[in-house]
Every structure is written in C-alpha cells, then in structure tokens.
C-alpha cells in the first residue's frame, strides 16, 4: 500500500506492506536510525517518537496508522543550523544519559511530557517518563535534565515542524 507521511517536516510517499511497523519504517525506509528498538514489546520506550503532537512507542504502531500524519524523530528536534532543542541541550548539560541507548526515546518522551505540562513537578516528570526505561538507571540526571529544560521556557515542549492535524 502507499503511505504519505511528513517525517521531520519533509513529506514523503512510500510503498510499504501494511504490517510494517513505524519503528522499522523510520529506521529501514527513511534511514533514520536514532530511533532505537529495545524491548520490542511496548515496555521500554526506546522507540518513542512524536506522531501528530503525541508521544508514541513506534514498535507498536503500524506505519500505515501514521499515514497522512506528522512524525518527529530525534533527528528532527535540532534546528536546521544544528542548534539543539532545549531538551537535548538540557540532557547534555545535566548529563542525562549514560550508555545512551534509551536517550532518543527518553528525549522524545520528555518533549511529550513538557508539551502536556510545561512546568511539571519532579513527581510529574517521573510519572510522565514511566514508560521509558534506563537500564543504566540514570534516572536522577534525566529528571534533572527535564526540570532544567522546563525552566528554559515553553520552547522545551515544542515539536519542530509539527502542525495541528485536523481529525
């Protein structure tokens, strides 16, 4: 079947099997390999991306379900001049990562948390990230990074190139 998805601001049309998962579409068809596949069972959150403004686990979404929509991956967060998104900047400054495997999903989930709640408490940050596992257990600095990003202003919860999608 044919699908048209705006990925990181660029519209593309691809011929895919209906069973193709969004995570595989992004990695294999679009060549965007920041999105990691960890548990592959909707548990770990490593494959989190933003679809139509909401965080989702792309291992449990068909590419066809995103047909006609807007998808943002970690690659789409930084500005065109390479300037990091406030959440990326905060993860770097607060050392919100250790091995880095969970980081793309953690950053995208954090953007989703801040889009929903621009000024979360630490508890709200932790609950907002409950679907993302860090096997290094580096949670303290991740929470610190999200708090720091929130203090940087409302831009931390904004998804570049995302537009309101009429439903």
């Amino acid at each position: 079947m044919q699908i048209s998805i705006t990925v990181n601001g660029q519209q593309r049309t691809d011929e895919v099997e209906p069973r193709l998962l969004l995570a595989h579409y992004l990695r294999e068809v679009c060549g965007l390999k920041a999105t990691n596949i960890g548990c592959d069972t909707t548990s770990c959150g490593a494959c989190t991306v933003i679809v139509d403004g909401l965080s989702v686990k792309s291992c449990t979404v068909l590419a066809a379900q995103a047909d006609g929509g807007q998808v943002t991956t970690l690659e789409g967060l930084a500005g065109p001049d390479g300037e990091m998104h406030p959440v990326q900047q905060a993860f770097r400054e607060e050392h919100g990562l250790q091995c880095g495997f969970c980081t793309p999903g953690m950053v995208m989930a954090a953007v989703g948390v801040l889009a929903d709640n621009p000024d979360p408490t630490d508890r709200e940050i932790r609950e907002g990230l409950e679907g993302n596992l860090c096997r290094c257990t580096g949670y303290h600095n991740i929470v610190r990074a999200v708090r720091s990003a929130a203090q940087a202003g409302p831009a931390a919860g904004q998804v570049p190139q995302a537009q309101e999608v009429a439903r």
Binding site: M1, E17, P18, R19, L21, H24, D40, T41, T42, G45, T48, L54, S55, V56, K57, T60, V61, L62, A64, Q65, A109, G112, V113, D116, E127, G128, E130, G131, N132, R167
Partner: protein, 276 residues
C-alpha cells in the same frame, strides 16, 4: 518481531466497518489504537488475515452527557478521557482510572472501545466500567443494540460481541459527587494490576480475580444489608476464581482482593475527591 501479513481495510464510516466485518467474518480483527492487538500479532498469537482500521472513522471520540448517563465514543483514547472535563464532573472515576492505564505513550493510542472489546481480566477501565454499570452500544448489520455491561464480558478475551459487530459507544450512569475509588496493586509503576478493586456508589468490581473482570457480589450484598466495610470487604473474594502466576498465587490474590476492596470502600466513603 514482525506481525504476519494481513490486508488493511480503512473504512470511512461505521457502516463500512460493519460491512467489512460481515465480508471477512472471523478472518478480520478491528484495529483501533492497536495496543492490545499489535503486541499479540507481533508474537503471532493473533494472525488475522484482515485488519479493519476504525481510527479514521470521524465522530467516534467524544464524552457527553445524555440524560442520566454519560455517553463515551468507542474511539475515545485514554489520554482524552483522562483530561476530559465532562467526565471529571459527571463520572470522575473514569478519568482517574484512565490515568492509571500503562504509560503516557500507551494512553495516547489506546481506546476505551478497544479495551472493552479485548476483555483482558486485568484491564483497568473495564473494572471501573463494571463497577459503574451501564451499557455497551454495538452496531451490526441489522443496526444497533445495547448490551448491559454486566453481561458483556464472558471470559478471557471473550465477550458478547458478535464477530460482525463493532462497539460504537459506552454509556455509564452519571455519578456526580458519589464516593468512588480505584485501588490497583502493581509491582512496578506502569504494570498491569496483579489485582485491582473499583468501588463506586456501593458497587465493587475486581480485576484479575477470574477469567474476566467480576463484581464482588458478596461484598455488595453485605453492604446492602448494612454490614460494615470491614465485614463486607472480607467477602470480596467469594465466588472468584483467580489464577496463579509468577507474581502471585491464588491465596495471595484473594488476600489482595479483600484488602483492596476494603481500602477502596473506605476511600469511597471518606472523601469523594481524595483518590485522585
């Protein structure tokens, strides 16, 4: 893990969806948020030949007051219910329980119709819906019919829904300021409940104490004849048939059912708003 091959049908209306279900019979499964179905398909525990994607049908996502009831569109996603002002005012147990499902990413996809149709005995929202009572509105080739919620879940992954019928709406009574609570016991933050108890307006439902979600009828009867909360809650596991797994054996689940029922009833009796 990759699902088996299937044909994807994307109806634009409920009528088209029902027609697809009639045409494909038990070869077809309905896809809404996909957060129960796609994991099963990735494990090849489900291999439907046809998926009927109802998520593009307009007008299936809403929460509105209709007379003494609140009507919820089957396509309403958990995060929408969680933040819905009408639901918060009229039937506050539902937004709270919606907020207890999985994690934010799961709640962004999962729908109330999907969790009702799936009939997993450990599901949060069906437990609350069973305590509320109400109606599942389904549409088939000969039109709509109402199925009482108390008669909807027949067992593990088994419901009263015919294979050519689609859930279109859930209707529950407006509970307003009546006391309510949902007590969910998990090992980790975003787990399914090992056992959960929902209490609202003197009714109690339990998750994971049988093949489907069940009412704690002995507790309800005891409350109706004036028993204390402690006495009534001590009967919560009567008539249940919990399973055993690596998390809990049957005795422990029975203990949890009694304990969580007592906590839920106490919370519901004490402060209506305290559980949130």
């Amino acid at each position: 893990m990759i699902p088996g091959s299937f044909e994807l049908v994307r109806p634009a209306s409920v009528e088209e969806a029902v027609a697809a279900l009639v045409e494909h019979g038990d070869d077809a499964k309905v896809l809404a948020g996909g957060h129960s179905l796609l994991p099963l398909m990735k494990l090849r525990l489900a291999m439907p030949a046809v998926l009927v994607d109802i998520s593009r049908i307009p007008g299936l996502s809403y929460v509105r007051v209709e007379g003494d009831e609140v009507a919820i569109g089957a396509g309403t996603r958990h995060h929408e219910l969680e933040k819905d002002a009408v639901a918060a005012a009229e039937v506050p147990i539902l937004p709270y329980v919606a907020s207890q499902v999985g994690d934010p990413q799961v709640r962004h996809r999962g729908t109330i119709g999907g969790t009702v149709a799936h009939s997993d005995p450990a599901s949060d929202l069906p437990t609350a819906l069973l305590a509320l009572g109400g109606t599942v509105v389904v549409q088939g080739p000969s039109g709509r019919r109402d199925i009482p919620i108390t008669e909807f879940w027949l067992g593990f992954f088994e419901t009263a829904l015919a294979e050519d019928e689609l859930i279109v709406e859930i209707r529950v009574p407006r509970t307003g300021s009546a006391g309510w609570a949902y007590e969910k016991f998990t090992r980790r933050a975003n787990d399914w409940p090992i056992v959960a108890a929902a209490a609202v307006d003197g009714r109690v439902a339990l998750a994971n104490m049988a093949g489907s979600v069940v009412r704690a009828t002995a507790t309800e009867e005891a409350l109706a004849r004036g028993a204390s909360i402690a006495e009534a809650a001590a009967l919560a596991d009567q008539g249940t048939s919990p399973g055993a797994d690596m998390h809990a054996d049957q005795d422990y689940r029975r203990h949890l059912a009694r304990l969580l029922t007592r906590r839920a009833l106490e919370k519901a009796a004490g402060a209506p708003a305290a559980a949130a």
